[in-house]
């Protein structure tokens, strides 16, 4: 039973080894040293493009998503009536946000003859190009989709807000602290470990997004690679072209990026996260 844990380490080492080889599944892996990595950074503009697309996606959508989640958690926190109903309504998109069905819906909302353009047409703005077929806006529609799934961080914020002792607020109001003062000096510092937790979780999760970009772009990452997520590119190299060595190298880089981002997050957290011990 314990050997099973090797199932994690084994593939990881195998993947590391393969990243130094040229392997197409048919002939045996051929050791080529750092060649894959060299090609990636010097001869592969699509690799750099997919990095740029994914970083933009993560760094724009995650802060927006978390800000929205926090704002709604603050509004819902004050013992509001019908909390359970609001919470469910806001959470539902998180549950299905990664599904093919929702990606299909997104195609129809932002398509050339989609919901948004039909709505604009009723205001006299006829003949707008499709938002998903325009390289300038295609990534934006996927960012909106990720922001739309703010429900699960919101629930984590709500749970965190409940842990803040009421005495702190009582003390604050005795000292004459206003609403923004309470937010700035009590709520945010007390909630900072949770904000940090959500940040790490969403950055890691968003970096691995795949389904929405795949379905919305029809598997291509288009138009003109504007939605070429990193995972989509890895899929194309590994499972369409069967360049397993190159895809493994892409995987290793993804692992390093996620590791570095998580470490940076932890490092930065020392400056702004307050643990209440």
């Amino acid at each position: 039973m314990l050997g099973l844990v090797f199932i994690t380490l084994g593939p990881l080492l195998a993947s590391l080894y393969l990243s130094f080889t040229d392997y197409d599944l048919l002939s045996s892996p051929n050791w080529i040293g750092f060649e894959n990595y060299r090609r990636m950074f010097t001869e592969d503009p699509r690799f750099l493009k997919s990095l740029a697309v994914t970083f933009t996606y993560v760094f724009v959508s995650v802060p927006l998503q978390l800000a929205l989640a926090l704002a709604l958690a603050l509004v819902l926190n004050k013992g509001i009536q019908g909390l359970a109903l609001y919470r469910s309504a806001f959470y539902l998109p998180s549950l299905i946000g990664g599904s093919v069905a929702v990606a299909i819906l997104w195609r129809q909302i932002f398509g050339g003859e989609g919901l948004v353009n039909e709505l604009l047409a009723t205001f006299g703005l006829e003949g707008m190009p499709g938002w998903i077929s325009n390289p300038q806006t295609a990534l934006g529609t996927l960012i909106i989709l990720n922001v739309w799934t703010f429900g699960s961080p919101m629930i984590i914020f709500l749970a965190g807000l409940r842990q803040i002792p009421a005495e702190l607020y009582e003390q604050g109001s005795i000292d004459g602290v206003g609403m923004f003062g309470r937010l700035r000096f009590i709520t945010l510092p007390m909630l900072s470990p949770i904000i940090f937790f959500n940040l790490v979780l969403q950055v890691i999760g968003s970096f691995q997004a795949f389904t929405p970009a795949f379905v919305v772009s029809g598997g291509t990452g288009g138009p003109v690679d504007s939605t070429l997520f990193y995972t989509l590119y890895l899929y194309e190299r590994g499972f369409i072209n069967f360049e397993m060595g190159y895809a493994s190298a892409l995987g290793a880089v993804l692992l390093v990026i996620i590791g570095v981002l998580t470490a940076l997050n932890f490092y930065a957290s020392k400056r702004w996260v307050h643990y209440n011990d």
């Binding site: 314990l2 099973l4 844990v5 199932i7 994690t8 380490l9 084994g10 593939p11 990881l12 993947s15 393969l18 509004v75 509001i80 609001y86 919470r87 469910s88 309504a89 806001f90 959470y91 539902l92 998109p93 549950l95 990664g98 599904s99 093919v100 069905a101 929702v102 299909i104 819906l105 195609r107 129809q108 909302i109 003859e113 919901l115 739309w148 699960s152 629930i155 984590i156 749970a159 937790f197 979780l201 890691i204 970096f207 691995q208 795949f210 389904t211 795949f214 379905v215 995972t231 899929y235 499972f239 397993m244 895809a247 493994s248 995987g251 290793a252 993804l254 692992l255 996620i258 590791g259």
Partner: protein
């Protein structure tokens, strides 16, 4: 005195807040409701108005969509998906709870190292592991039609997230219970089966819910492992419908999208309390 003066304004502010929340909720759910409505009206009328109240109702889209999939159609896709979900559920529940029991209660060599490795596994992107896994399964000839590449990893307790969840839960169960069982002559397996497993019910429920939803929504692994339409899951079937959208039409596409969301939605409705608790305590992405 002050409370009397501020009372009406507080009430006004509160209803203002409710109005804002309801408006925002409607805006968020509008796309979903619009898709639901559009799936029940004749295709030619989808863009006639943007309201949510359908005029003429029809099931035509559902009938057409259900029969339009490649190969075995949606009856087959649903059966396939249920099979994979069932296999994943059994695999995850048994293997993760056994692994968690070993971590929380038994002593073995390199336990700390294994535990650290498992934690690292939570952070590990699936796409990185997928390549060697794929090579392994394709060398054994399992890629293409069988569901085994999707189920075997679950039987091997690969979902470290659930193992971690259960270890955390087991730490809250007093050790005296196991000790009492071992005094009564029960071995580790018997203790696990008769004492620990029944006590772990809440953690098992959380695992069931998330395994179901994640497996149901999963797209990447079926995409690489199931290449024949006869073995498609609902996600793959739905995606193949997009490619043939020009021939099958928007109405049936919406109808099938709605139908694939129904099981997740039902789960959400009945297990809401557990889902909310599960996310609040584990921070899962849902």
């Amino acid at each position: 005195m002050t409370s009397l003066l501020t009372a009406p304004t507080t009430a006004a502010r509160l209803s203002f807040k409710h109005a804002g929340l309801i408006l925002f909720g409607l805006l968020m759910l509008y796309p979903l409701l619009w898709m639901l409505k559009s799936s029940f009206i004749p295709e030619s009328k989808i863009f006639d108005d943007f309201g949510l109240i359908p005029g003429e109702l029809t099931l035509e889209n559902y009938v057409k969509g259900w029969n339009s999939g490649e190969g075995i159609g949606f009856t087959g896709y649903f059966l396939n998906t249920f099979l994979i979900v069932a296999g994943s559920l059994i695999g995850n529940l048994l293997s993760c709870s056994l692994a968690a029991y070993a971590f929380a209660r038994l002593n073995f060599k390199l336990k700390t190292a294994f535990f650290a490795l498992m934690l690292a596994g939570i952070m590990l992107p699936y796409h990185v592991v997928a390549i060697p896994q794929y090579i392994l399964f394709s060398s054994t000839g399992l890629v293409g039609t069988t569901f085994l590449p999707l189920i075997i990893p679950k039987i091997l307790a690969v979902d470290a997230f659930f193992v971690f969840l259960m270890v955390q839960f087991l730490r809250g169960i007093p050790r005296e219970l196991d000790e009492a069982a071992s005094i009564d002559g029960a071995g580790p397996f018997r203790t696990f089966w008769a004492v620990i497993l029944p006590l772990m019910k809440p953690a098992l429920i959380t695992t069931t819910i998330f395994t179901f939803i994640w497996t149901w929504n999963d797209f990447f692994s079926p995409l690489i492992y199931l290449t024949v339409p006869e073995s498609y899951t609902v996600s793959l079937g739905l995606n193949s419908l997009v490619d043939s959208q020009t021939s099958s039409g928007l109405g049936p596409l919406f109808a099938m999208s709605v139908i694939t969301l129904v099981p997740v939605f039902l789960f959400f409705l009945f297990a809401q309390k557990h889902i909310v608790q599960g996310i609040a305590t584990t921070g899962s992405k849902g």
